[in-house]
Symmetry: C4
């Protein structure tokens, strides 16, 4: 009985369930405040002065997120009704959203159990930014990206491979041409790759660029011919995203029509 009500509350709210909406908004606001807190903590002056307050906020957040996680596990057999309880729990734990939820709380508990050095502690702190993905439950944006990448997988692999070849070739050529003149800018091919990526994505930071005449000529040709190929994965993701958004709109229209049609049918029946 009570488990049913809890399940209703923790799931994204239906239109007129007041408690459920309060719960959703609480979690959403908590996620946003968590992101803000991570940003604030990165300011060393704020981190020093408000460490106590930030720690308290962290403990509150973790407590709420942990309770949320546990409640979701407890009510998991209401989500997967076709499975028995033990299997539903396992199925839920391995679902993408549950893994995100776990990653949002787990790093907090690790230093309590295992002895960790400062360096590792810091990486653990970084993982807190992943809490932002908890927002996924309340938006379709991120799952849309997933679908786009899946749909365009084949194209992306082909073009990423070509992009990778082109960048590698450009970097190698540039390394052999420039390393004698500027051993600091092009000390090895890996460093040269940095130049190649910055140039072919047209970011062009300007920290490394060819100095020799030959290097400049080659770099100009590479830029003119290569940018088109490197822009391809960009174009593919973009077109995939646009298709997805159009499909969504059409589906929406179709379901809206279907809904209207059903309604009209009912009205006709009554008559």
């Amino acid at each position: 009985m009570i488990r049913n009500r809890i399940f209703e509350i923790i799931e994204p709210a239906k239109s007129n369930d007041h408690h459920s909406r309060v719960f959703d908004n609480t979690i959403l606001i908590l996620i946003i405040f968590n992101v803000i807190s991570v940003i604030l903590e990165s300011f060393s002056s704020i981190a020093l002065r408000f460490q106590a307050q930030l720690d308290i906020f962290e403990i509150i957040s973790i407590t709420i997120f942990s309770i949320e996680y546990l409640l979701r596990i407890i009510t998991s057999n209401l989500l997967y009704r076709e499975n028995d309880k033990a299997r539903a729990v396992l199925k839920y734990i391995y679902s993408p959203m549950a893994i995100i939820d776990l990653f949002a709380i787990l790093p907090f508990f690790i230093p309590m159990i295992l002895p960790v050095d400062l360096r590792f502690l810091r990486i653990l702190r970084l993982t807190r930014i992943l809490r932002i993905f908890k927002i996924n439950r309340y938006t379709t944006s991120l799952s849309m990206i997933g679908r786009v990448l899946k749909k365009k997988k084949e194209e992306l692999i082909v073009t990423l491979f070509v992009t990778f070849l082109l960048i590698l070739l450009a970097a190698s050529v540039m390394y052999y041409v420039e390393t004698d003149i500027q051993p600091d800018g092009f000390p090895n091919i890996l460093a040269s790759l940095w130049w190649a990526v910055a140039t072919l994505t047209t970011v062009g930071y300007g920290d490394v660029y060819p100095l020799s005449v030959l290097g400049k000529i080659l770099s100009g040709i590479i830029a003119l011919l290569g940018i088109g190929l490197v822009a391809l994965p960009t174009g593919i993701i973009s077109s995939g995203f646009t298709e997805e958004l159009e499909n969504k709109k059409q589906n929406y229209n179709r379901s809206a029509k279907a809904y209207k049609y059903k309604k009209r049918k009912k009205v006709l029946k009554r008559k």
Copy 2:
């Protein structure tokens, strides 16, 4: 009687109304000179030498714009003929174009009424650049942008949200990787966001960029994969704009055809 004529004059000119066209061109030229005057005044040497002339020009501009604003209010019930006078005035005052007109003159009068410090006075001066939007009345370009943003609202919100997430994530990761090596470039996540925006929009000023090998590798991957997603709002605005321009053309053609059709009908009738 005279109010009717004033209304005809201040509205965008019909093809053969000489006075109205003179009025339109005066306002247009005044707007352009106002923009030029703001630019000139930003040169400290010009501001010092020609302060008197610039001030006189400002007073003249304000006078004309104020008279224009008052005339428009007085004749507002000729614009909204279905409303009574008081309601027409109110309706006009709250219309977007009237608000722009008000903002173009109001900042000039504030220091006369309220005591303001120098800093605030300066912001008031900045608002003069907004006078350029008065040009809106004589072009459809800006209202077109408004329509495009409205039409693509849903897509823009979804992609801006994803863009925002991606930039935030990239900035956070980069902060943790680079802050020890270059505390000046990546002192906190907010500063790191500056790097993320400059990179993912491919502007790449080159004031901050990763120095560590890990940072460069991550930055390369972020650049290659992220640029596609960040370019999405750009693509959506572009496609929306193109659609709008095509619709406009088709409407024009259709109305041109309809006009021809009507004309032919008339000719046939006469026969």
Copy 3:
């Protein structure tokens, strides 16, 4: 008689006219060597050492181009057969290609007639690079661009106007925000425009960029939202060009078909 032959020779060669083809190639090669000579002369070391040779080459080029120009004028009534001779000459002189031809030789003769200072002489020398447009006669690429710009005129004006407004607004805001912190980077709105253009076209040289936190936030928002609008003229030109190339292909296919059809008809007739 001889005028007819000259006209045949100086016009772009038909498939089996040997002399005409020799003439065309001579002019083409001369244009290319002229461009190379302008580039070489810009190297001060080469300009000093080979001034004599470059001058001789210039005199030879001018002689040939002048003769070409005169021959084209003399034979102009063979180009415009419907006009009498005097009118044909005038019509030819005012045609775009003849103006280009004139500009390719005129600057050489000016210092002979008028006393010019060194500065003006230099600008005259710059005009030599315009000789490259003489190549226009042998390619359709440049006239294609002209057609594209004409076709998309309306769209380009609208978007260039919006682009101009956006750049002006961004520059003004940035000037007021940054001028106190870095009077060298943003001394006036005109200098601020330089930043705005470099940012919104995503070139991002990195010579000026906001330093204040407010400036960076505003700049980030401007970059994210503005790039889409500024990329519009780019997109319009691109799409116009693509359409033009497709039209050209279709026309080619159609005329090829028509040609085949005619041929077949002839064959059938003979039977």
Copy 4:
């Protein structure tokens, strides 16, 4: 007999030929390790310490690649069954893939036969990176690019020509405007071309940019108007690639359908 088996093994593996698959994977892994070895060797510290190991790996690679090359030549008449043996060998040697294979091994043998200086030896070492193209045999990505460039040849030539003209013109104008103010940045038109390419591809390293007001205004106009034209080859390559990928998909679907259809026919026949 044995030649037939060798041919089967060295050709890309059919689904259930174990030996052939082992051979393919060996070559693939060797190519990848070769690329890694080239990258590693570019680190001077690694090159010094592990020179011996790298040399041994090089000899092993060359041995395997040489044997592979010889085997392919020996079995070439099984590839071109319609030709007699001598002609098949010649035909194979001049095929693109065989030339790549030869270039992957040849540079190793040159210093054994001819006396070469250190500088030339280094260029020979660079050619090792070309071994990555041996991967071509196992992927369709690279041949796809070839097809795209071939298909869009005409468009690419036209737009590359225009791009070239625009870059040349921009560089020349900028040289005359800026060379007096910054003789280091714009010493000659060739150096000015470097600025033009970096600007019009929007890379914008920021090593050279106009300093004079006139130069900045011209550069702004060039950037705003030119980027569209320079982006054209990029757009053409991108659209060509997308078409190619779609064709490939359709062909795949069609052949899949044809396969199903044949299968069904067979089933029907049996009945």
